[in-house]
Amino acid sequence: MKNSNWRLTASALALAGVAWLASSMPVVEGEKVDFSFREAPINAAGIKGMADLRGKPILIDFWGKN
């Protein structure tokens, strides 16, 4: 029982790792961006992801509060 729990946990961690790696893969210039927010952004006004912005230019500003 304990073994199967460990196996399940290990599989879940491996899957999470693959998902994290995929999400942190660099997007090269010219590559299409496909992204859905896990949590609604502040002031989202109904925007859930890139699909909602189809046909519109998007400027992403990476910033830090500190």
Partner: protein, 256 residues
């Protein structure tokens, strides 16, 4: 940062600016900070989820995604000089034009779509035989359906001022389209329903409040009191909750 705020305010609905906080700051804290810095009161959205991975070694960093959904530029903003501004202006123009390589027979369809006349655009597509007409038709329908889906989410989220604007624009655009006009009519009926009367009133009050305070000492004591009064008056609505949240944000110590 202020440069991107300026872009959002200059281009309005033609561009979407997404601010991505990358230093692990707690959501309420960076939200409060955005108010305090007078960066709100526009369409920009704020998240801590990296829409795409960063490529540089530090902040700030910007990325421009074109109308075709691909990354056109990414890096330290100062490295681009005028290129960022010029490419953005070009993309805004492109969003209203037919995509490169569009056959001459479909230019009229794209022109009608850009003017917001979906029914005319679809009718033009139907005159063009083969894949090209069908492809353009599918693109117009997909773009419009994405806007309809967004209007639905605006209604559900209590963003009724924005919903009203979008539904009015969709109603004009879809007039005469047998496939899309009925969907827009359902939204218009929902927006005008008695069940949403309290939310409509609250949304109007919240929009007006944001318009007044966003650029003028948002967390000034008087403004916070107004937010609290708004929250009390519109208790039980989503916009009343927004006002209450705003008052809570004003209490966050941003100097920590």
């Amino acid at each position: 940062m202020p440069a991107s705020i300026k872009v959002q305010e200059q281009f309005g609905d033609d561009v979407q600016v997404i601010f991505v906080e990358c230093q692990g700051t707690e959501k309420n804290t960076y939200e409060a900070f955005s108010w305090k810095m007078k960066w709100r009161g526009n369409n920009a959205i704020w998240t801590n989820e990296r829409v795409i991975p960063t490529v540089g070694r530090g902040l700030p960093e910007v990325a421009l995604i074109g109308v075709d959904g691909t990354v056109l530029l990414q890096g330290y903003p100062g490295d681009f000089g005028k290129e960022l501004e010029e490419t953005l202006a070009l993309e805004v123009k492109k969003a209203k034009d037919a995509p490169a390589g569009t056959p001459a027979t479909l230019k009229k369809a794209w022109g009608a779509f850009a003017k917001g006349d979906l029914a005319a655009a679809l009718a033009e597509c139907d005159k063009v035989a083969g894949d090209d007409g069908a492809k353009a038709r599918a693109e117009f329908v997909a773009r419009t359906e994405a806007r309809i889906a967004r209007a639905e989410r605006l209604l559900d989220g209590g963003d009724l001022s924005e919903a009203d604007e979008l539904i009015s624009s969709l109603a004009k655009s879809c007039k005469g389209s047998a496939e899309l006009a009925p969907k827009v009519a359902v939204l218009a009926t929902k927006l005008a329903s008695p069940e949403l009367a309290a939310e409509r009133e609250a949304a109007k009050a919240w929009s007006s409040f944001v318009g007044k305070v966003a650029k003028d000492k948002p967390f000034d004591g008087g403004n916070v009191k107004k937010a609290e009064a708004l929250a009390e008056k519109h208790k039980g609505t989503k916009n009343g909750a927004r006002a209450a949240h705003f008052a809570e944000l004003s209490k966050i110590n941003l100097n920590r």
